[in-house]
Amino acid sequence: MIELFEARKVYHAGEPNEFVALQGITLKLNAREMTVIQGPSGSGKTTLLSLIGGMVRPTSGRIYLLGREITSLPERFLTEIRRRTFGFIFQHFNLVRGVSALENVMLPAFPTGESRAALKKRALSLLGLFDVASKAAARVEHLSGGEAQRVTIARALINNPDAVIADEPTAHLDTRLSCELMEMLGRLKAEGKAVLIASHDPLVAEAPAVDRIVQLRDGRIEGDG
């Protein structure tokens, strides 16, 4: 589903603080598969996630999505594809403060021009799926950690993506919530989505739903299994 060929990412090229985040990554990710990218901080996990998720363009190398090359696509096309294909779950939740949970879930779909009524319905049903429908009108500041986490997942699914990408999702969660999260992600995998998680949390790597672990160190793949 997603393929990278010799993808490299260099920041501040040609300057004294030049930094090579990724050095020629070749990787293939499939649907109905949960992959965990493991590695210490600074190993390039987040950059790899950004690259796969179409948020950043590689300095060299190629990226294919569903068979189509997206390496040099202009931003407006890339963003449209990204919206349809990926749902993101961020490390710090990254919900918009001062806005209700429901509105947060609807936000990623605003640019598509979908009718607000239809959008609202779908958002509400997603919140219901994760048992937070009662908190739909609440502002995000008033949500507990667990509730916020569920809202984040609901948001990631609003555009019916083919893949879900999560960056250190358990960083601020206790054991019980972490297990719940892995279980919810497992359900998504079962529905046919590709799930990609970057984490150095052993709890994540040891979860039963995980199919594959990729070890990353200093921008290079060290292990894949």
Binding site: V56, E75, R76, N94, V96, P111, T112, E114, S115
Partner: protein
């Protein structure tokens, strides 16, 4: 078409909620913006109303005035000149006019003294303008003392005070009888101050003026058109000067706009980062910024115009009118009548909203190009 509208609607909704989330900053901006619009709009409204008032009042003034000059200075004109004028084709009527200036040392003001065309103002009595009445605290029935050209005291009774509706032109006017005029100012009996001419067809004015000038070479002809033009020029000029002075304020405003638009708080930066990370494109964020600018601009613009309208026409421009009228000691009191039209509003728009929008283009763009992966870290 419908998706496009929905997209605008959704983004506009979010814009308004995000402006409300930053109440203090938004209100501060709207306040300054409204103030700028208010100042400029007041100037324009008042100047335009004054112009209109002047032209309305001048409508009744004679189309053509013939004056005599001697060595480049104004001189009384012989009544006999009327014969040369009356005979010209196209002239409806011509008559002499008696008027002059009188300096009142008590209040340091100049009065215009005129002998009316029709109607009695019996010998010994005068009608005075409302401005004079105020400044000298006179009521009907009081007497006023004048010093004649021979140094004698002439006492005249105030019969009536001229109606306030014509104050713009009559504030400093004294209407007097011909006999009293002659007593006050002297001068030969067969000469008057100037001649006024009425023609049948306004288009022929320049031709007739030319013929009079040929026949009476020592005369100077003033057309009402020219007076109107001069008033236009003066009011526009004064209005323009005020605007130039306010340009300093406008410039400061633009700098403020730029600064506010550039100075994104960390909260705002994070918000935009999140939007881009979850699937908003640069042009979507630009649209957000556009609607932000529009919401602030339109609110301030409408509010500023409303306040200026109230200021100009309900309070008759209490703040600015002295500069625009510039009449020295005697200030006519009158109510300004609204005379607005589209070009005025459009000029205001160009002077306020357009600079604001332009100041915010580049800061908005800088905000919108934030990399989504910055938020991942």
């Amino acid at each position: 078409m419908a998706p496009w509208i929905e997209r605008q609607r959704n983004i506009l909704d979010f814009t308004l909620s995000s402006l409300m989330r930053r109440k203090r900053k938004t209100l501060a901006l709207v306040f300054v913006y409204t103030l700028v619009v208010f100042l400029l709009a007041s100037v324009l409204f008042i100047a335009s109303a004054l112009k209109k008032e002047a032209s309305l009042v001048l409508q009744d003034s004679p189309e053509m005035i013939v004056q005599r000059t001697s060595a480049g200075r104004h001189d009384p004109i012989p009544l006999s000149y009327l014969d040369s004028i009356k005979g010209l084709p196209g002239v409806q009527s011509a008559r002499g006019r008696l008027w002059g200036y009188y300096y009142d040392s008590i209040v340091g003001a100049n009065y215009t003294i005129i002998v009316p065309e029709t109607g009695p103002s019996g010998k010994g009595s005068i009608d005075i303008g409302a401005g004079i009445a105020r400044v000298r605290s006179l009521l009907a029935g009081d007497t006023m003392e004048f010093r004649s050209f021979r140094g004698e005291i002439l006492e005249l009774t105030v019969r009536d005070i001229l109606s306030p509706t014509s104050e713009l032109v009559s504030s400093d006017l004294i209407v007097i009888s011909e006999d009293d005029f002659r007593t006050l100012f002297g001068g030969p009996e067969d000469r008057v101050t100037d001649l006024i001419v009425r023609v049948k067809n306004a288009r022929e004015l320049p031709t007739i003026a030319q013929k009079i000038a040929e026949r009476l070479p020592d005369t100077r002809i003033v057309l009402r058109e020219e007076i109107l033009r001069t008033y236009e020029a003066v009011f526009s000029w004064r209005g323009g000067i005020l605007i130039i002075i306010l340009a300093g304020a406008a410039l400061a405003f633009m700098i403020l706009a730029w600064d506010k638009a550039s100075g994104l708080s960390p909260e705002e930066k994070k918000e935009i980062g999140i939007l881009k990370a979850i699937g908003w494109e640069t042009s979507d964020v630009l649209l957000l910024k556009f609607w932000e600018g529009m919401a602030v601009s339109l609110t301030s613009f409408l509010l500023g115009i409303l306040l200026a309208y109230v200021h100009a026409f309900a309070t008759s421009g209490a703040l600015f009118v002295p500069v625009l009228k510039g009449w020295g000691v005697l200030y006519p009191k009158f109510r300004l009548v609204p005379d607005l039209d589209a070009p005025l509003i459009i000029a205001l728009f160009f002077l306020t909203v357009v600079p604001y929008i332009v100041s915010t283009i580049i800061p908005s763009w800088r905000a919108a190009i934030v990399d989504p992966d910055a938020v991942m870290r």
